[in-house]
């Protein structure tokens, strides 16, 4: 895969506040990349800098190895699906989608043909004459995607495009977006704060917090081997425990030693440990590595979510078998389920 876009030390200051603190990032051709982080983390600003709507304070952007930092938005081979769609309210569906082609002065026939193809792709054939303000949220969303894709950009930017839709529709559109990306075969850069969305759609996830990249990796990397406490907490529910390394393959927390698969830390180095709720098994008190009492047990559909009170902390445990609150149980987990991470400077 060829590198398509390269951010080099991007810094952005708004009113004296650092929104982006030196972002370095490479994005490949045909990748589905998600910028994931809580609101205000700078992910949308990074996208808007790439789109050309905001200028970076420092740093350079390269597109196919050519610097585009000073190229105005309307000359970049990038199109955007905006957060609230930003459809032109005074035009119908056809004219909205055809806007970019009209600007490029393409012939009527070609415009007609390309727009019709797009309408089919997003499943809106027959809607060309409707005013966009008459469409439902999901339909407006599709028009916004079609309006961007019809220009055959090399990169499509999507700024929380599903935020305004309700749960059921959001899940449907997730699959559809992924399908469209595969069909048109271009790079998608997707901004969201929803970790489920990120896991479902992405080839590569970039976790951002406080204007800094926390981790870059595939969904599996990010979920299974979070690099720090923030990533572990943000991607799915977690038990996060402070402890320290005794030696390679041995970690200590809650006054007990545990075997683990991590190594290369300093001796006695303080670390954060993550154990996913679904990796903890409920066993008899004698069999457990830690003992505790079940405080609550909530049915969640696929699993029960239990809160188990141990001597030092409450553990969240996901299990498919019901155990009643009040019972004393043991907690068991395997060495590979203990994820040891470097401590963060700030959190």
């Amino acid at each position: 895969m060829r590198t398509l876009i390269k951010f080099e030390n991007i810094v952005k200051e708004f009113d004296g506040q650092l929104v982006l603190k030196g972002i370095n990032l490479e994005i490949n051709e045909n990748e589905f990349v998600t910028l994931l982080g809580p609101s205000g983390c700078g992910k949308t600003t990074l996208l808007r800098i790439l789109g050309g709507f905001v200028d970076q304070t420092e740093g350079k952007i390269f597109f196919e190895d050519i610097e585009i930092s000073n190229v105005p938005a309307y000359k970049r081979e990038i199109n955007t699906v905006f957060q609230k769609y930003a459809l032109f309210p005074h035009m119908n569906v056809f004219d909205n989608i055809a806007f970019g082609l009209h600007i490029k002065k393409q012939s009527k026939d070609i415009i007609q043909q390309k727009v019709n193809k797009m309408l089919r792709l997003v499943g809106l054939d027959g809607f060309e004459d409707k005013m966009v303000t008459l469409l439902s949220g999901g339909q407006q969303q599709r028009v916004a995607i079609a309006r961007a894709l019809v220009n055959e950009p090399m990169v499509l930017l999507l700024d929380e495009p599903l935020g305004a839709l309700d749960l059921k529709l959001r899940k449907e559109m997730q699959h559809e977006l992924k399908k469209i990306q595969k069909e048109v075969g271009i790079t998608f850069i997707y901004v969201t704060h929803d970790q489920e969305e990120a896991l479902t759609m992405s080839d590569k996830i970039v976790v951002i917090n406080n204007g800094e990249i926390q981790q870059i990796g595939t969904p599996i990397d990010i979920y299974n081997e979070p690099e720090n406490r923030f990533v572990a907490d943000f991607i799915g529910e977690s038990n996060i425990i402070e402890g320290f390394m005794i030696e390679d393959y041995q970690v200590m927390f809650d006054d007990k030693k545990f075997e683990c698969v991590d190594y290369g830390f300093d001796d006695k180095e303080s670390v954060d440990i993550v154990i996913r709720p679904e990796d903890i098994d409920i066993v008899t008190p004698e069999m457990g590595m830690l003992k505790g009492i079940i405080r609550s047990s909530i049915f969640k559909g696929v699993h029960y979510e239990m809160s188990v009170e141990t001597e030092y902390r409450d553990f969240i445990v996901h299990t498919t078998d019901y155990t009643e609150p009040g019972k004393e149980v043991g907690l068991h987990f395997f060495p590979e389920d203990i994820h040891v991470m470097y401590k963060m400077g700030t959190y």
């Binding site: 789109g51 050309g52 709507f53 105005p72 938005a73 309307y74 000359k75 990038i78 199109n79 955007t80 905006f82 957060q83 609230k84 930003a86 459809l87 032109f88 309210p89 005074h90 806007f99 970019g100 600007i103 490029k104 005013m131 303000t133 008459l134 439902s136 949220g137 309006r147 961007a148 220009n151």
Partner: protein, 283 residues
């Protein structure tokens, strides 16, 4: 609460009578002959027929013509001002709009006299020309003077309305245009201008309608012989004492105004209806 309920209908009735009676009187005068009172009524259509005399129709057409020119000049002068102000910083916007609206709070009469001292034969402009050794220009008592006075008086309203429409334009639409390859000129032509039309239309309502029926400005800047429809009505009531004919003219004017209101509103509703329908769909 029930006593309150019982009062609603008589109260609304009385208010209705209070609001309607003068209207009915105007209609009554328009359709009766002079010298009648309520008891000995003679109905007639003469007052209306009289209006369709070529003299009065000419006055009407001239009024409409001047009002139209005033409106067009206000749009041409006002749109760029509103556009430029809407594109400055927020604080500058507030300041500039305050400056623009100050003349709205000065008496029309006073503002018009100020223009007399600019335009009159020995006014500022001609004094200036004389200093340069140029021949004086007669500007007072011309269509130019009347139009200038009207434009000056109504321009702030036009700027205010267009500015309001531009200020509430969604910035992300401009980003979207940019994103789709449109340069500044294309964005203005295809996005900003069409979406600011509702402001232009409210501006037209606020400029065209009062300029059709104004009588102070044409009287002062056009002179005693200068006759627009507003002066005609004023003359009928004050100078000639022809209340019946005056009432008929003002009814005709009200009809013209209501009809043009209807069309501009319809145009505006066609646009906003989309928004409403959307609401319904989401509910």
């Amino acid at each position: 609460m029930s006593t309150f309920r019982n009062l609603v209908k008589p109260y609304m009735l009385w208010m209705g009578i209070f609001i309607i009676i003068p209207m009915l009187l105007i209609v009554f005068y328009a359709f009766t002959t002079k010298g009648n009172d309520v008891i000995t009524v003679k109905f007639t259509m003469d007052n209306f027929l009289k209006f369709f005399d070529s003299v009065y129709i000419k006055v009407l057409l001239k009024s409409l013509n001047i009002a139209l020119i005033t409106t067009i000049v206000c749009i041409i002068l006002g749109y760029p001002v509103a556009y430029i102000i809407a594109n400055t910083k927020q604080k500058t916007q507030t300041l500039l709009m305050l400056l623009i609206t100050i003349p709205m709070w000065i008496n029309t009469l006073v503002k018009t006299y100020a223009w007399i001292s600019v335009l009159s034969d020995n006014g500022i402009v001609n004094s200036f020309l004389a200093k340069l050794g140029l021949a004086p220009i007669t500007m007072m008592y011309t269509d130019f003077a009347v139009t200038l006075g009207m434009v000056y008086n109504f321009l702030p309203f036009m700027i205010l309305e267009i500015y309001t429409a531009l200020a509430k334009l969604d910035r992300s639409l401009i980003d979207a245009g940019n994103d789709l390859g449109a340069n500044k000129l294309q964005i203005f032509q295809k996005i900003v201008f069409p979406l600011s039309l509702s402001g232009v239309i409210s501006g037209i309502t606020l400029v065209f309608l009062p300029s059709v029926s104004t009588f102070v400005i044409p009287k002062l800047l056009g002179g005693g012989q200068y006759m627009l429809i507003g002066n005609l009505i004023e003359n009928q009531f004050i100078t000639v004492g022809e209340w019946n004919f005056g009432s008929a003219i003002s009814l005709i004017m009200a009809c013209i105004i209501l009809i043009s209101m209807y069309f501009t509103r319809k145009f505006d509703q066609d646009k906003s209806e989309n928004g409403n329908k959307k609401e319904v769909k989401h509910a």
